[in-house]
């Protein structure tokens, strides 16, 4: 390997998360974390090509109705029709184009199509609850769906999850891979939900709450929510002012 290649192989590292802005693996109020969190400290890894590259193409085949969860069946699903739109940015404020976003959610009654969800709420034959899309050159994306209902779980007595949509996002690097949940503003269940509350930093926690947006809302058709997603970005390079 020539010297020039070696020099170019030294990568620009990514920014590290600030304390409190991401959940700890162990979060006792969330019971199933107790046996699934490492007990040894993580080992700090310098960023190499292995971490700053990641799957950016070839696994993101998108179908015509993949970003419209209300048009995937013969009829329309029941529930409040919503538009969810926003941008994927890195922590430097730069758009992340061609990012694959996958999402999944419960129906308006709070029931997942998933076979493991046996809670006694009706399935909707016109709703599966999965979507995928790619961001455009400006990092923008858009989905049409119905608002998911809250649903019960067994974490503690009378436990209910706030209504949410699961998001999976592939940025440019394997280390910026993000799986998160989008919530709706003003949900009374926030204070009671150990998953939402697992983020100590208030400003970071607010990032997970979408914002009602009248401009996105379409008259006589659907309410609109904005949800911008911020992925880790690289540290400034010497070439930037």
């Amino acid at each position: 390997m020539s010297e020039g290649i070696n020099e170019r192989s030294i990568v620009t590292p990514y920014r590290r998360y600030q304390a409190g802005t991401q959940p700890n693996s162990l979060c006792e109020p969330y019971r199933s974390s107790v046996r699934r969190a490492p007990s040894q400290p993580l080992i700090l890894l310098p960023h190499t090509l292995s971490e700053v590259t990641g799957p950016v193409y070839g696994h993101g085949e998108i179908g015509e109705t993949d970003n419209d969860l209300t048009r995937q069946h013969a009829g329309e699903p029941l529930g409040e029709r919503i538009i969810v739109t926003g941008r994927v940015l890195d922590s430097n404020g730069r758009p992340v184009p061609r990012a694959l976003i996958e999402l999944w959610q419960a129906n308006s009654a709070g029931r997942y199509v998933h076979e493991s969800d046996q809670h006694p709420a009706p399935l909707d034959p016109n709703f599966t609850g999965t979507g995928r899309t790619l961001t455009d050159e400006n990092g923008a994306y858009r989905f049409v769906s119905i608002k998911p209902g809250p649903y019960p779980w067994l974490n503690h007595y009378n436990a209910w999850r706030p209504a949410h949509i699961h998001f999976s996002i592939f940025g440019r690097a394997f280390l910026s891979r993000l799986v998160t949940q989008m919530y709706f503003p003003g949900d009374p269940l926030f204070a009671l939900d150990p998953i939402y509350q697992s983020i100590p930093d208030e400003r970071a926690r607010q990032r997970m709450i979408s914002r009602f947006d009248l401009e996105t809302t379409q008259p006589q058709w659907a309410t609109g929510y904005r949800f911008d997603i911020v992925l880790r970005g690289p540290e400034a390079t010497p070439f930037e002012s």
Partner: protein
């Protein structure tokens, strides 16, 4: 600008119908025409009680046999075969395991351009995990392991947890355990 990144939340128990359906899982990281030593890698995920986790998801990211990533930011002037994806994703079955088909990666430059030993980059997701954990899979017996700069950061007594071992019953087969907690807990990295 310095925006606070969006926090991670658990993938939960209901991701399969979106992320790991037959259409959306990726069991084959390198198609049949891709050059390199063919590997069938079985990964098993276990919790702190040693019990199999049947609702985990494993993602793998790796270089090809020449140590080149299928990514525009890899500046090495080496080819990437059209059938080489470099990415895999599967949900675990009832016994906590999933199996990928791939090729053994080549050596990739690391810190200070010192070559790393062949390794797969792994992200583990599951219900009960509020964020993914990152680990690496190395190949037991590879002479390059001794020179690997990342390995050197790991306490000697824990390095074994990063090793896949050949499956004696299956030529080309390798096995790797992810132990989230407890005795022989897998080394996870703060990336």
């Amino acid at each position: 600008m310095d925006l606070v990144p969006t926090p991670s939340q658990t993938v939960g128990p209901f991701f399969h119908f979106c992320l790991t359906t037959d259409k959306n899982c990726v069991a084959c990281i390198a198609g049949p025409k891709v050059r390199g030593e063919r590997v069938w890698l079985s990964i098993r995920v276990l919790d702190g009680n040693g019990e199999a986790i049947n609702d985990a998801m494993i993602e793998i990211w790796q270089a090809n046999s020449e140590g080149k990533y299928n990514h525009p930011d890899d500046p090495q002037p080496k080819p990437v075969e059209p059938e080489f994806l470099g990415f895999g994703r599967m949900g675990t079955a009832k016994d906590g395991s999933c199996e990928f088909e791939t090729i053994k990666p080549g050596r990739v430059p690391g810190p200070e351009a010192v070559l790393q030993a062949p390794h797969l980059n792994v992200a583990v997701f599951a219900r009960g995990m509020l964020k993914q954990l990152y680990t690496r899979i190395y190949f037991a017996g590879d002479a390059a392991n001794r020179e690997d700069p990342v390995f050197a950061l790991v306490p000697a007594e824990r390095r074994e947890t990063l090793m896949a071992h050949p499956d004696p019953t299956h030529p080309g087969g390798w096995r790797f355990n992810v132990r989230l907690q407890g005795d022989d807990e897998t080394v996870f990295f703060d990336v």
